[in-house]
């Protein structure tokens, strides 16, 4: 399974990188960690004519935490997120989700930008981006722009990125200390793509839920929020009965696929179970 032939460039600036992508009429691809792109090329499913290695680009590897939330440089790796102790408090949902990503060796190379650009429907990072209403900054030949997650992820392996655009940053909004959150996924084996996953959070207002955000991973063609399940949750106090109801709402709302690992009926039921369990876990977390 040797790679197909391609040209390789390793530019020193973002401008050069964009120019290289722009100059190859959609046949060039950026290379970050390579953990998703390389296997596709090994199977010759992807055969870009040029790989633009982003590793020398400055300023894309930082994790900035401030009043406006968490800003992840596109080349931030999974291990950087897990190593950054500030995120335990600054974004526990992100941290927990990332701890489920793949395996040790992959976490040393895979990047947040690469994961979002690749947009595998079962990846955790796009799920977190959707659930948390992240904003994704990109740079292209037309300049810089910021894309809301809901507009960014369009379908399986499909995003709003133009062929000349490179993700530069993913911005997750500020995370209040009192926020409740839950993350549940179930994969065949540790580190496999989840057959389904649910990320959720909510804030508490006088004992009731407000601002519920529920996102699903690995079900349907794309990670997305579940507004009906969120509506079932908002305005209520969380108890076991509500968790069951929210689970049922989530199960009803998704459009699950059949594949060799799970039937669609099972996946639907799994979504509901994971939503219910994520909600119970969220409620059980003590306030900071």
């Amino acid at each position: 399974m040797k790679l197909p032939p391609f040209e390789y460039a390793c530019p020193a600036t973002l401008g050069e990188a964009v120019a290289l992508l722009a100059g190859h009429s959609g046949e060039a691809k950026p290379l970050a960690g390579g953990q998703s792109l390389m296997p596709m090329m090994a199977f010759r499913i992807a055969q870009p004519s040029l790989l633009v290695d982003l590793r020398k680009l400055p300023g894309l590897k930082e994790i900035k935490i401030g009043a406006d939330g968490v800003r992840l440089g596109a080349l931030v790796r999974w291990r950087d997120i897990l190593d950054d102790k500030r995120l335990v408090a600054a974004h526990p949902l992100l941290r927990d989700a990332v701890s489920h990503v793949a395996h040790y060796q992959i976490r040393n190379r895979g990047t947040v930008g690469g994961s979002c650009a690749h947009a595998d429907p079962a990846s955790e990072m796009p799920g977190i981006a959707q659930t948390c209403e992240a904003e994704i900054s990109v740079m292209g030949k037309g300049g810089a722009r910021t894309i809301k997650a809901a507009d960014f992820f369009k379908g399986a392996l499909t995003t709003a990125l133009e062929p000349d655009e490179i993700i530069t940053e993913i911005h997750l909004p500020a995370w209040p200390a009192a926020r409740r959150w839950g993350f549940q996924e179930f994969a065949r084996r540790r580190g496999d793509f989840a057959m389904a996953g649910v990320a959720l959070y909510y804030d508490v207002d006088g004992g009731n839920v407000k601002n519920a955000h529920i996102g699903v991973i690995g079900v349907g063609d794309c990670q997305r929020r579940l507004p009906k399940a969120e509506a079932a949750l908002n305005g209520n106090a969380v108890d076991d009965a509500l968790a069951v109801k929210v689970g049922e709402a989530a199960a009803a709302e998704v459009d699950p696929q059949d594949d060799i690992h799970a039937s669609s009926a099972y996946r639907r039921a799994l979504t509901g179970t994971l939503a219910e369990r994520a909600l119970k876990a969220a409620a059980a977390r003590s306030t900071a």
Binding site: K2, P4, F43, R188, R190, F193, I260, S263, Y266, A269
Partner: protein
Amino acid sequence: MKNTFIGTPMERREDLRFLRGRGEYVDDVAMPGLLYAVILRSSVAHGRLVSIDASAALNVPGVHSVITAADMPGGPPIVPMRLQPLPEFKPFEQPVIAHDKVRYVGEPIAVVLASSVAIGEDALDAIAIEIEDLPAVADWRTAAKNQSVLFEKAGTNRSLVFQARKGDADAAFAAAPYVRREQLRTGRHYGLTMEPRGVMAEWDDAKGKLTVYGAAKVPFFNRRILSAQIGLAVEQIDMIENDVGGGYGARGEFYPEDFLIPFAARHVQRPVKWIEDRRENLMAMNHAREEECDLEVACARDGTILAIRGEVHTDMGAYMRTNGAVGARNVSQFMAGPYRVPHVKIDSALWMTNKTPVGTYRGPGRFEACFFLERMIDMIAADLGIDRIEFRRKNLIKSSEQPYPIAHVQPTDARDEYDSGEYSETLDRALKEIDWPKLSKLQGKLIDGKYHGLGAVCFIEGGAAGPKESARIAVNTDGTMSVYMGTSSVGQGVETVFAQIAADALEVPIERIHQVYHGSTAYVSDGYGAYHSRSTVMGGSAVLDATNNFMATLRQAAGKRLGCAESNVTLDVDKVLGGGRSMPLKEFAGLTAEGAFLNKKHTYSYGAHVAHVTVDAKLGRIEIVDYVVVQDVGRAVNPLTLRGQVLGSLVQGLGGAVLEDLKYDENGQFLTGSLADYLLPTATDFPNLRCVVLDDYPSPINPLGAKGAGEGGIIAAGGCMANAVANALSSFGAEPRQLPLSPTYIWELVQAGQRRAAE
């Protein structure tokens, strides 16, 4: 000085190179002037091969040539069967390359020779293939309709039916007070090896010598096949066994590539290397285990098994491979397992389908038989209101009944008997290890959201296939000795185990055995190989015979030189003593003697698996809390490596029980084409496993008293897990009838149980 290396948990010699990355596997061997072979494989499951046009590929820079069936005068040779080579199978054997039809996704159509593997792969797309699609046969039921037939001349998709018979089952069923009938199924999986296959061949035209690297398992037999196919005398061919990255029954049989690559080397007069990649391995290495049964068990009301009767249907894939019939044959002969069953009537049909051909995988046919019968035993015991452990105890064969004759299989007239053992003792020990009485209170209980279940099953493992094995001992120039084996290494530690046996027999420190050489055809005159868990028994016994002959030879030579009677000669570490004089052993450098062990009988190691699992009924997730294997191996030569064999094969079995599944769609398209699709166990999947190895009942059929023991861990894993899951989900009335126990399948069983309860 009496040694006791046998029975000692000795650290392995092989490790010294493997741990340093200094193993030499076939892809590690470099050769000047090498061309790399890349194989174009069919992406169509069933079709007429109309044309192949490689002209564009030949124009790709770096491509040397493209070989097809047209380059083989007289047509491509056929790969003959090695085991059960019955005339009925002949129409279904595989040509080494496709010529008129393709019959499975992955079948070789052309071989590209190029200056690099990457260029060879680039060239594949440039080969224009025209195939007329034919309707695909994607399962045995479709095969049985015989509407789309894979082999027109044969006129049927059923290559054979094995018949296992003992007593008069029909009469027993007619009179039986209780009968239970079930349809059960084991899913398709295989002995995937971490090192994919590889063949490198060099043809020396001046010497008329063909050297083939990458041999494994049965190099002597494969050499005979190749010699007949390629038109060279056996003496002109050397098969070299390098380090081998796993076998499990799948690697080492004669595959099409084992002809194609040597043929290519001779055809282009350049050395050629082919290294299988993982995508190929999934669709080209022998598949296994896909069997479906319709089985009846007749019992007395007190739980005594009276008879078993039924049919098994094996999905054989597209061709009869060298050892393809073994699983289907074994499932019929060994359906009764370690139990006393006086009447047996099993018909085992082999169905050709448009899938990768089938061969053996550790415990062939036995894994399936154990799952089928053990599932039924739990169901029957529940029906009759008998404790399922007592049911087993009542029916397990006793030591006083040994040797115990089992079902007779036709064709092949295979008669066999179990050799020795008190089967209930391993069950009792396993139950004790897990503390069954304490755990049994948990059966079916829901605790912290998970259902608890227990499973307990028993197995026998056949080993030590004959007819013969050879070994040779020689004195090296430095006075150490080397052992040359006809058996092969597939990673099981033969270099250490045979050194232990030789050192003990010669009564020398183990360091005096410098090296154990294995597998390559240059080492002994007539070797057989590593399969059917035979290496320790057959190879080890051959080593014993070789040491006897070696000492006789040494005494004869030393008696003359020391001037004493032969009977006075002794070997003392590195010196030969006799008549009051001594000489260094190195003075006898070059002295060598062969030995052999002939054997027509099989050994039967046996044991029990007992498991405690939890099931999350909503996720369909199984977790093992504790799992114990107890196995009696007759005589443990190296307890350290033995534990490795038991636990390693157990995890393979658990993979087949829960994770591994080779899938096709209804058009014969192969769906599990990567390791993200075909799921192998990892370190987090089955952490809580343990084993106890006993050697209370030696085998009477070989001088070591040992029994082949590499397959016991795998054989009962499917039955044990399924029974434990059924026990956990008993409140739903869930009865798993198929493997693997995927999350979807478990969830569906629970759903079905809930629907029944609602009615």
